[in-house]
Symmetry: C2
Subunit: 341 residues, 2 copies
């Protein structure tokens, strides 16, 4: 099969690789219908995380091609969406809604990069969700978004306890932040303030439901949020960047007793001042999203054409042109790149 391999930072190639096969009886092998490049793929691309001839990709939709003998809930021929973390969906942690911390949790990318024609998905029963039928082509981007960015933005909004009557701030105007805006709208937020200084992302944020845009950052950004919220700060803040600056921006934009949902992937060496966290007295919750928890509901909303998260893909390329996709995202020429197969 053809697959995207990052040889070293900045060196992305599409190469022949052996087809994945069933290893464990709970595995499925899927043929990808579409895949995409994640903001987190830019970390190794930029040399911030180690990379060495690594199979890339963890977002995926496709058709089941093979299943192990213990697989029960998905069958060959099913169209499936799955999470970027495997889960058995039966353990106590999964039952509490934290499939990303399942006792069998593993990043899908460890088993198989999904920027490829085929991928092996462990714990298929607990990781994959079959759609009601074969989707129309125009639904593919939205279903693919559900696999990570939509599920992650949704989790951030739920973690931030977004709901009716609330004012929500979204820190980060990447794909996940934009999905956070969409989730906040769907969860009934009264006011959604997107922090962004890029016209194209501001436009998409407004399309997804943002009611206000704040261009300022740092202390000026916090001052603007304070002003917009009658001096109190927002009820709910979604953090979708993962740096100390963005976390402090989020915490300082939240009222005492309010909620921060943080999903920006944090890197080693980044730390938070504990005294600031203590005296801010906000709720902090986040991490790798338990996408599996939300998939049935997200698929339903997409299937009913109630939401259109696929709009977050503003560049579509064939898998063979993956290197250009990485460049476009790295140079911020694209918000998120969909790769066709």
């Amino acid at each position: 099969m053809r697959a995207v391999v990052m040889h070293s930072p900045g060196d992305v190639r599409v190469e022949d690789r052996p087809d994945p096969t069933i290893v464990d009886p709970t595995d499925a092998v899927i043929r990808l219908t579409a895949t995409c490049i994640c903001g987190s793929d830019l970390w190794p691309y930029r040399g911030v995380e180690p990379v060495d001839h690594t199979n890339m990709g963890h977002e995926y939709v496709g058709v089941v091609e093979q299943v192990g003998e213990d697989v029960r809930t998905v069958a060959v021929g099913d169209f499936v969406v799955g999470s970027f973390v495997t889960s058995d969906n039966t353990c106590e942690i999964c039952q509490a809604g934290y499939q990303s911390k399942c006792v069998h949790a593993e990043f899908v990318s460890v088993a198989s990069g999904t920027q490829a024609q085929l991928a092996r998905i462990p714990h298929a029963d607990g990781t994959l969700v079959a759609t009601p039928g074969q989707p129309d082509a125009d639904l593919i981007p939205s279903l693919l978004a559900a696999s990570d960015v939509l599920g992650t933005g949704w989790f951030a909004a739920v973690a931030a306890e977004v709901g009716p009557g609330k004012t929500v701030v979204v820190v980060g105007d990447g794909a996940v932040g934009l999905m956070g805006v969409l989730a906040a709208r769907e969860l009934g937020a009264e006011r959604i303030i997107a922090m962004s200084r890029h016209a194209d992302r501001q436009a998409l944020a407004r399309e997804f439901g943002a009611t206000d845009i704040v261009e300022e950052r740092g202390a000026a950004g916090v001052a603007r949020i304070t002003e917009l919220t009658g001096g109190l700060g927002a009820h709910s803040v979604i953090e979708a960047v993962g740096t100390e600056e963005s976390m402090l921006q989020a915490i300082r934009s939240t009222r005492g007793g309010g909620h921060v949902g943080f999903v920006g992937v944090a890197h080693e060496g980044v730390s938070l001042p504990l005294d600031e966290l203590f005296f801010a007295e906000v709720h902090l919750h986040g991490g790798p999203a338990p996408v599996r928890r939300f998939l049935p509901e997200l698929i339903r909303m997409i299937w009913e054409r109630r939401i259109d998260p696929g709009k977050v893909f503003d560049l579509t390329l064939p898998l063979e042109d993956a290197a250009e996709g990485y460049r476009a995202m790295d140079e911020r020429r694209a918000i998120k790149v969909l790769l066709t197969l």
Copy 2:
């Protein structure tokens, strides 16, 4: 009046000071019935926080002696318990239960140290709660505990979402940790694991409701908690120390999706690794306790003699001997010192 003044680290004296008077029309002046020394008073005592001829104390119970002309809910002669943070108890933040982040919040100690015969309490209506009548003498220690350590331990348990069927870990065996044990029992926890290596504190923890004691710390402590919780970690963890080590102990003892309630006062320069917080995927909430939220309920339980938090005071001294009280707590000869007037 007589009052405790810390001249410099380690130098505690009881001196004559001018009687406090009504400054704002929302003030009350109370005559203290009892006061006490807080674990946080040891920070300046040990030179970790600056101190310079500072009036000490922020915990208090007493009888109202004077009220400003705008005070409505407490009257001269009432026996009152108050929080260590002032609050108007009417603003949007207070109404959401975060009186410690009230738009008028101020540490009581800024207005008036309460290790004294008299104290001025700003925003008396929103800060003080009158008891149903004059308390019996044996209730005084418990009512005094409600002013801070009980209210703080209670908040930690609520922030950690302690409830029926849950396993709770308490990190820190000081007065606040012990009150967290008591709160966990009252809130219906199934299992309460106190982390302590001091026999006297272990005994008190068991008396307050601890079902298990873990003496190990650090990685060994986490391993023991993991073992005791079937490999998953605790549902709820109360952190009552305020160091990086104790916070990591708490986070690492919590299952994915579980809750950490942290009330150990964090100091400048202490930080938390963000990547660990991200991948732990716990809920984190804490800060200065909104004691005022809980006071009516805590006073009721004490009045009905359902709880006896006053047992946390294991040394009682006259105010004039405050210096010996500080020494006893600093040398860990006492858990918490009550000062009589």
